[in-house]
């Protein structure tokens, strides 16, 4: 109780209230405009929050993170275009509802489900906080190193079919972070004797380039689309009543959101996928899923809105961000010399609870705002793409230039913007670069500290938490290898099915008979066996 009161005391300030209001309304607006995700907005606003108190700055950013998904449901439901990437699943059931003349019902249900997900996760985590405070101190240098490695690994393997290039891009992120003056031995690394590289490449410059500028380039190169919006009729409160009829799906989906949100690198997509599949499998009308099912909409929206609060857990408890948005928030902590990690949970628990409470208040504010203002808000969907690109380009300048007033930073941001544009065109992920930068830095420091006390390699995992983390890393790698082999087998089977000739041993021998019997075949085999013998002799 004392903890709650002291947390409320932190929040009882006019600037925090203003930050909550600006974050919630700004987040909804940003989410509602397709093409501007929370990552773009947070990247642009990041330097502006450095001059604020940590709680005020973080509240604005958390507000944008938490409320953008509410806003993202609007275009997903009305025009079949997700406002933010995580609202993609909302289009499956939201848009068919609009198509059959029930946009109001779909919107109201999406808001109610999002609200439930948001509030459920915050309450879970407030109740969970004392336990976390006990577990967090068990994490020393080697545990944090292993957790960061696990986070990076999960981000990489989460990109199915692109794990190799995601891994290569994560390694690129780690490389960027090593550029500049090495702080222990004071030696330059990859600076090529250039002064501007001496202080390293700033994370915010890379973030702004990869997320904001690249998005501006995509929009500027794009065509404007004509948008037709269906008129909204009826009340907005029916969704709350409808949600109350599906408490099981809402609770299970929110729990998936909380659990998946806490695991670095997994996040909204996995939570949504699991809860949607669960809802479909347990539904009495599974055939409705994808055709305007209210249960499908509830599963998708509840799960994604339960993630932001949970995603703050690895960041606050261990100082390890699990995805790009929390990685950006980490820099706000560093600027204010508040180092997230086990010590934060031990010494500033009220600060942590205050953050969660602000998320709780935020959810209420957003729901109220949306219930009242949706009809006027949907007009933002009509902003033309290319004009939006102009706006993002203008705002990106504020983000990069205000950092150090350096034109070199802007050149670097523009270069990363072009790289981000190429990655977007090729549908390759940019997030591993950011996480490679952030987690690479953490891993370097923690491994050095941990190895100072390690005599034998096995000493590294002789503590229970370290051992468990090591086991999870091995399990993730094994599971990934099994999946790759399974995919390969499936591909081979599909290839065989499209072939007209027999794949049996006899058929194969028959087709190869010329090679076995004719002189040329014999000569070729003799040459191959000679080469093989020579190769073997080398060893």
């Amino acid at each position: 109780m004392d903890l709650l009161l002291s947390a409320l005391d932190i929040l009882m300030r006019w600037d925090v209230a203003l930050a909550l209001l600006a974050g919630s309304i700004g987040g909804v607006l940003i989410g509602a405009i397709p093409g501007v995700g929370p990552a773009v907005a947070i990247a642009i606003l990041l330097p502006a929050t450095f001059s604020m108190d940590p709680i005020v700055g973080l509240t604005v950013l958390l507000g944008i993170y938490g409320s953008s998904m509410y806003g993202g449901a609007i275009p997903a439901i009305l025009i079949n275009t997700p406002g933010t990437a995580v609202n993609a699943l909302t289009t499956y059931d939201g848009y068919p509802m609009t198509a059959r003349g029930e946009p109001q019902r779909a919107l109201s249900l999406a808001y109610s489900a999002s609200f439930f997900g948001g509030v459920f996760s915050v309450i879970c985590l407030i109740l969970f906080a004392p336990l976390l405070a006990k577990v967090a101190p068990l994490f020393g240098s080697r545990e944090i190193f292993l957790a960061a490695l696990l986070g990076l690994l999960l981000v990489v393997v989460a990109h199915r079919g692109q794990a190799l290039i995601a891994g290569a891009l994560a390694a690129f992120g780690i490389f960027i972070q090593t550029i500049g003056l090495e702080p222990i031995k004071y030696s330059q690394r990859y600076t090529f004797d250039q002064d501007f590289l001496g202080s390293g490449i700033n994370l915010i410059v890379v973030v702004l380039g990869l997320f904001a500028l690249s998005q501006a380039f995509v929009l500027l190169m794009d065509e404007d689309e004509k948008v037709h919006i269906t008129k909204l009729r009826g009340g907005m409160f029916q969704g709350l009543r409808e949600l109350a009829r599906h408490p099981r799906i809402a609770t299970v989906s929110a729990s998936f959101g909380v659990l998946m949100g806490m695991i670095p690198g997994v996040g909204e997509f996995t939570a949504q996928f699991m809860s949607y599949t669960y809802a479909q499998k347990t539904s009495k009308r599974p055939q409705d899923f994808g055709n305007g099912s209210s249960e499908g909409l509830i599963a998708a929206e509840t799960a994604n809105n339960a993630v932001p609060a949970a995603a703050m857990v690895p960041l606050l408890a261990l100082g390890i961000p699990g995805e790009a948005l929390t990685a950006m928030m980490l820099s706000v902590f560093y600027v204010h010399n508040v180092v997230p990690g086990p010590a934060l949970f031990q010494n500033k628990m009220d600060f942590v609870v205050a953050l969660y409470l602000s998320l709780l208040i935020l959810n209420v504010l957003v729901l109220l705002f949306l219930l009242v203002a949706t009809k006027s808000l949907i007009q933002v969907v009509k902003i033309p793409n290319r004009f939006l690109g102009v706006c993002i380009l203008t705002l990106s300048f504020v983000g990069v230039y205000s950092l150090r007033n350096s034109a070199t930073d802007c050149v670097m941001a523009a270069a990363f913007g072009m790289l981000g544009y190429i990655l977007k065109r090729l549908k390759l992920p940019a997030v591993p670069i950011i996480l490679g930068m952030v987690l690479g830095g953490i891993m370097e420091v923690k491994l050095r500290a941990a190895m100072a006390r390690v005599k034998q390699p096995f000493d590294f995992i002789d503590r229970p938490v370290a051992f468990i983390l090591f086991l999870i890393i091995v399990l993730v790698l094994v599971a990934h290898a099994i999946r790759v082999l399974k995919d390969r087998k499936e591909r081979k089977e599909a290839e065989w099915q499209t072939k007209t000739s027999s794949t049996g041993f006899g058929g194969l021998m028959l087709r190869r008979k010329d090679s076995f019997l004719k002189d040329r075949g014999k000569r070729v085999r003799a040459r191959h066996s000679k080469l093989l013998r020579r190769l073997m002799d080398l060893f």
Binding site: I174, V390, S402, A407, R425
Partner: protein
Amino acid sequence: MPSETEHRFVGPRRGQLVFALAFVVLALLLLSQITDQTRWVEKTKFVAQPRFWPAVALGGMILMGGLHLYLLPWRRVSRQDMGEVRNWGRVLEYALWFMGYVLAVPVLGYLPVTLAFVPALSWRMGYRGRLMMGLSLGFALLTVVLFKGLLGVKIPGGAIYEYLPGALRSFFILNF
């Protein structure tokens, strides 16, 4: 007809080979410079060497990027690939617009440059109507007032403000 490997490939075909090739070549070039660009310190543990993490990162880039390149279902650069590279090049125009804006602000001041930049780029994007021009000007003014005037982000006043008379000069330097 595309093969099963091509069919299952995540993402479009155009440009993949060029990107993967460029990525691996860059990583190899950077690795070739590792002895020049990093130091090996005597009496220091292996993992604490300044060279350790750049080597790990570049090794990862080459190994995983190389495997990605090797497993790509295409071996020749096609006409579509070159078309895609030209598309990447076209972005340079907007990057130059951005750099022009960056270089003009310290000289001409944040407010005047933004008031000119946003409508000019909107004009370039094909918006000619009064409504869009008005919106551009309004957006430019709002951005400057919000970020420089209200939030007080660090953007220096333009050199041109030095020519303004006394009180107006400091007002402009502080707020616009």
